[in-house]
């Protein structure tokens, strides 16, 4: 592979990692607070649809993004009512949210736009444009570093930069702020938080609100940045890969970034290659597709390290004995 190909694969890696990373960070807030979230996929899908639809109608990507975040937030709160207030099964709530989003987006898409579930293709303004960072063009000529800056680092959608900035923000919030301390505590031992005089449910709602907003960003990325308009089941299981990445990264922000980059890289690789040779043995593209899931299972099984999630995860908090 020559330099240009490597560069373009890495460029694709960044683009494909972005929604994973946003969703993964989204899940981190909720799961760190003790609410297991297998509904990332559904929230992203709902956001992707809302963003695509509103951007198509208003012609504004920013309004589309706003709509995506609002719808994702609403979906999250519905899940929250079930999983936090009504103390329902968090996993089942997640399954329901995923299914609800899959059904509603296709149904409303078809009923409103009559394009087989697609939202109308977005024109200029309805979709985010790549941002050229300062001096990118000027520096493009510099050997090696020039193309890396101009092609790899510069020239992405604003959401890409937001995603990577969010890694640092999340790490800061979780480990350097009062909110982060309480959030991590509530995922480990909610009773300790309660006896310290802090409302467990309120904290959990605060956490999932962030989850909802981040899922909104991730979903909007699909329909109004990477794509130009919403298509049926557009998130295609990325929410589950994000969940896998979250586990793989052991619920930590910086490892989450690297895991999402790895999974994004595998995705970029399988798009470019139909199959690869490894030590003379043909590796089918499907094997690369399945690799994130296999890796996560292997990690979960404790064959490489051990992924132990927040201790109170999955259990609704009840005050009574």
């Amino acid at each position: 592979m020559d330099f240009a190909i490597i560069l373009s694969v890495l460029d694709a890696t960044i683009r494909l990692s972005t929604p994973l990373l946003l969703a993964c960070l989204a899940g981190m807030y909720s799961e760190r607070a003790g609410v297991f979230d297998i509904g990332l996929e559904g929230k992203m899908l709902a956001a992707a649809f809302a963003a695509g639809a509103v951007a198509a109608i208003t012609g504004s990507a920013w309004l589309g993004l706003l709509a995506g975040m609002i719808v994702s937030l609403g979906t999250t709160l519905l899940q929250g009512v079930a999983a936090i207030s009504l103390k329902g099964n968090q996993l089942i709530a997640g399954v329901a949210i995923n299914m609800l989003a899959a059904g509603m987006t296709t149904f409303l898409g078809q009923t409103w736009f009559h394009q087989g579930g697609r939202t109308p293709a977005l024109g200029a303004g309805g979709r985010f444009e790549p941002i050229t960072l300062p001096f990118a063009n000027e520096l493009a000529g510099v050997p090696i570093l020039g193309p890396i800056y101009a092609d790899l680092i510069s020239g992405h959608y604003v959401l890409v930069y937001i995603a990577f900035i969010m890694v640092a923000v999340t790490a800061y919030v979780l480990f350097r702020t009062r909110f982060g301390l309480r959030l991590r505590a509530v995922g480990e031992n909610p009773k300790a938080v309660d006896t310290a005089g802090i409302s467990v449910n309120k904290l959990r709602y605060q956490a999932i609100i962030i989850t909802g907003l981040l899922c909104g960003l991730a979903g909007a990325y699909f329909s109004i940045a990477q794509g130009s308009g919403f298509g049926n089941n557009m998130t295609a299981g990325k929410g589950y890969i994000a969940l896998a990445a979250l586990i793989f990264a052991k619920w930590k922000p910086v490892p989450a970034m690297f895991t999402c980059l790895l999974f994004g890289f595998l995705d970029a690789l399988q798009i470019r290659l139909q199959s690869a040779q490894l030590f003379g043995v043909e590796v089918p593209v499907q094997a690369i597709q399945a690799l994130p899931y296999v890796l996560t299972v292997v990690l979960l099984a404790g064959f490489i390290g051990k992924a132990v999630g927040p201790k109170a995860g999955g259990i609704p908090y009840t005050k009574e004995r």
């Binding site: 350097r176 702020t177 301390l181 480990e188 300790a192 938080v193 006896t195 005089g197």
Partner: protein, 486 residues
């Protein structure tokens, strides 16, 4: 002061705002307050050290202290201030803890200090401690009492919730006694004595002494040799225990709860893997490896009445008749081959209910709807009616009403007289003394001494339970190493 279940913890939880009272008033410094949540209680200067610590295991000491009492949105200033404050408090009250240690890495005694520091850091003037010594070694308990005395000298109010007389006499200035949810007396400690408090605590007690003849021990049925058992966290809880139980005798294991008795019971009955040692039943070593060890123990003739019937001995969501076969579900009498003979199971259940006078006598009723005593009878009937050689029984009367206690005690004696070997574990010293033919005292995972219930005084047993044995062996030696016993 009060017995288990007298309402001490509930009362204190209301003070701390964890539950709300149905009626009544609370006054702090003369002003009436309706304490609605823990934050409110903290603001009023009430701090609480719960029986089960409210700590986040993977946080540092400092983080746990700061949690909920942060100064600002950012953590750093709070942590810095807390570090200084902690340093001050540690010196003032002689409460040394490494602020950067992670909770899961420090000892239980240290964790308790963190809880006290938490309360002090929040400016607590009144400190409530709920059964603080239950989980401590005697050394740690001594340290705790030293700290509590310092607190008193510094002008703090300390409320100690306990059911241990010794602690009340040793450290308190005044004592209030609770019985069945009511405050029956408040006395000055200096002007009372243990006997008076004990009487207040239990009320006019139904005579606990059970009619029983002398034991008539036969051959050894259960033998335990050098048993080592670890808990779920991999910490050794039973550290080389050996003893034997003969047919026709009851061996009582006394001790403060948490000294390895639970793990000992679970190991002998096949619920927990043993790290080392052997359990010999009827001369045959039991193979208890794997997660179905309990089935092999039962097959070899061992019946087990567990300490916690609701968590282990019963499936409370099942109908009564379904619980009548729990543990014996694979027995041929409940169906040949793979099928379950429901009629046979129901018949057994009806039989059990008649024999043990379980009420209501309804085999189809969900088990959670029976009272504690009747639930216990369901378990006992199931385990006793199959004519086991050895009965291993933990806390037989915990949470059981007086009437049922007598019945249960009589049944246990009856089994002994039928020539069974019975191993009884109880934290109720009275129960052990009235039922057992020999008493072994367990402390910190080892058997620290043996006593004859007829001659041993409460004081001697209490000392042994605290890990001090003047009479027989030095602390830490198993019974096997002591040579012949008197």
């Amino acid at each position: 002061m009060g017995e288990n279940g007298a309402g001490k913890s509930t009362l204190m939880s209301i003070l701390y705002g964890f539950y709300t009272a149905d009626s009544g008033t609370i006054r702090v410094n003369g002003t009436q307050h309706a304490i609605t949540d823990s934050r409110h209680a903290l603001a009023l200067g009430i701090g609480m050290v719960h029986q089960h610590f409210m700590l986040v295991d993977n946080f540092t000491v400092l983080e746990n202290v700061v949690l909920g009492a942060e100064d600002s949105g950012l953590l750093k200033p709070s942590l810095d201030r807390a570090r200084q404050e902690l340093d001050r408090l540690e010196h003032e009250y002689d409460l040394e803890v490494d602020p950067d240690a992670t909770i899961e890495d420090i000892s239980v005694g240290q964790q308790q200090r963190v809880e006290i520091l938490k309360a002090l850091y929040r400016g607590a003037e009144t400190l409530i401690l709920d059964e603080p010594t239950g989980v401590l070694t005697p050394k740690e308990a001594d340290d705790l009492f030293r700290v509590l005395r310092t607190l008193r000298e510094q002008g703090k109010t300390v409320i100690l919730i306990t059911h241990k007389l010794r602690e009340i006499m040793a450290i308190t200035d005044s004592v209030s006694v609770m019985r069945q949810g009511e405050m029956v007396a408040t006395l000055e400690t200096a002007k009372t004595n243990p006997e008076e408090i004990a009487e207040l605590m239990v009320g006019r007690r139904v005579l606990l002494r059970v009619e029983k003849g002398p034991a008539n021990p036969g051959k050894t049925l259960l033998e335990v040799q050098d048993l080592v058992v670890t808990d779920d966290m991999g910490v050794a809880r039973v550290k080389g225990v050996s003893f034997s139980v003969r047919s026709g005798e009851i061996i009582g294991i006394a001790g403060v709860s948490g000294n390895g008795q639970s793990e000992l019971l679970e190991s002998i009955s096949g619920m927990r893997d043993q790290k080392a040692g052997v359990v010999i039943l009827n001369g045959q070593p039991l193979s208890l490896e794997g997660d179905d060890g309990a089935a092999r123990a039962r097959a070899a003739g061992l019946a087990h009445v567990p300490e916690d019937r609701q968590r282990m001995g019963l499936v409370t969501t099942f109908a009564e008749w379904e619980n009548a076969i729990l543990g014996y579900q694979d027995s041929p009498e409940y169906g040949a081959g793979a099928l379950l003979d429901i009629a046979a199971a129901k018949q057994a259940a009806t039989h059990h209910i008649e024999l043990f006078d379980v009420r209501p006598a309804n085999i189809n009723l969900k088990t959670s709807l029976f009272s504690g005593g009747n639930q216990q009878k369901i378990v006992l009937a199931r385990e006793m009616e199959r004519d086991p050689d050895v009965l291993v029984i933990g806390q037989p009367t915990r949470g059981v009403d007086i009437g049922a206690i007598e019945f249960i005690h009589k049944e246990i004696i009856k089994m002994r007289d039928e020539g069974k070997a019975i191993l009884l574990v109880s934290v109720e010293l009275d129960e052990i003394r009235s039922l057992a033919d020999r008493i072994l005292v367990m402390f910190d995972g080892v058997i620290v001494g043996e006593a004859d219930p007829a001659t041993a005084t409460e004081g001697e047993l209490g000392l042994m339970m605290a890990g001090i044995n003047n009479k027989t062996a030095p602390r830490g030696l198993g019974i096997a190493e002591q040579g012949p016993l008197p």
